[in-house]
């Protein structure tokens, strides 16, 4: 793990992929894809982030403990984002009376 270095070729290859990802993400924004745009955009962003983490940040050659730290971060982040989105996206699925307070303010 110490002083393990990767080849120059690999770094430039990863860099080329990152620049290609930048071009792709800008191109996607100009296409008429409707709801698929955000999914493709996030897919490209995660792919770019994965390239940086695995190759530039040398996680590929890291001990399992570092993988565990990263996996834990991703799990907690996904809990944070998915449950917050679940709350806002599911409002109105079941007809309910507006909670106390909301009704009063909407009447302004």
């Amino acid at each position: 793990m110490i002083s393990q270095h990767s080849s120059l070729r690999m770094y430039f290859l990863v860099y080329a992929c990152l620049i290609a990802g930048l071009a792709a993400t800008v191109a996607v924004a100009y296409m008429h894809l409707g709801g698929a745009t955000i999914a493709i955009t996030l897919l490209i962003a995660f792919a770019k982030a994965a390239l940086v983490v695995i190759y530039f940040m040398h996680v590929r050659d890291s001990p399992a403990l570092n993988w565990l730290a990263i996996a834990a971060g991703l799990v907690w982040l996904s809990i944070l984002l998915s449950f917050v989105l679940l709350d806002y996206a599911s409002r109105g699925w079941i007809p309910t009376r507006a909670p106390v307070g909301i009704e009063a303010r909407s009447g302004e």
Partner: protein
Amino acid sequence: MTTLAQTPPKSSEAPAAAHHFDDFAQQYDASMFGMWVFLVSEVMFFGGVFATYMVYRHLYHDAFAAASRTLDIRLGSINTFVLLTSSLTMALAVRAAQLRQTWWAALTVLATTVLGSVFLVIKFIEYSHKFHEQHAPLFGLPFHFEGPDPGAAQIFFGLYFGMTGIHALHMIIGIGMLSFLLFAIFRHRENALRTEIFGLYWHFVDIVWIFLFPLLYLIDRT
């Protein structure tokens, strides 16, 4: 007990470990793990900000798309390019430090610092455009937005300044650390471990921008 502490084998390759570590390999793994734990806490910090963005974009999608179109896509793309390139030079700096190529390490760290500064200068130009267009809901300045929903646009620009602002703060801290690193390299008090730790931080800030750029600049350009 007459057990003597075992002297760790002295290697000319590995730098001396701090006294509370058995050997340098242990110090290396502990340092890297510590940095990763810090970066995961940073992920959670930015995660809260991204969650806020996600909720408001869900609620005001059309207004967010309209406000996003007023951001300069050329400057944004150039800045993304600059930051990705700085990540490459940082990765090359870590490699050079591991190979003990002092001059290469100094040159690539310097290049990273310069690219980081270029990013901040372009960001400053973008900010001044937004202030000029009265798109900055900051310091009680007058806010003006042509569109059906200026209130939601104000929320977008609040998030824009907030998210890019804390990112820029991380960049400024990173540039400060890299300047320190450059100084240490020239004083010949540098080891590859410190360069690698600083590199992890720099790459993390790059990753944050990888997400910020499409989420803020590229909502809908059709």
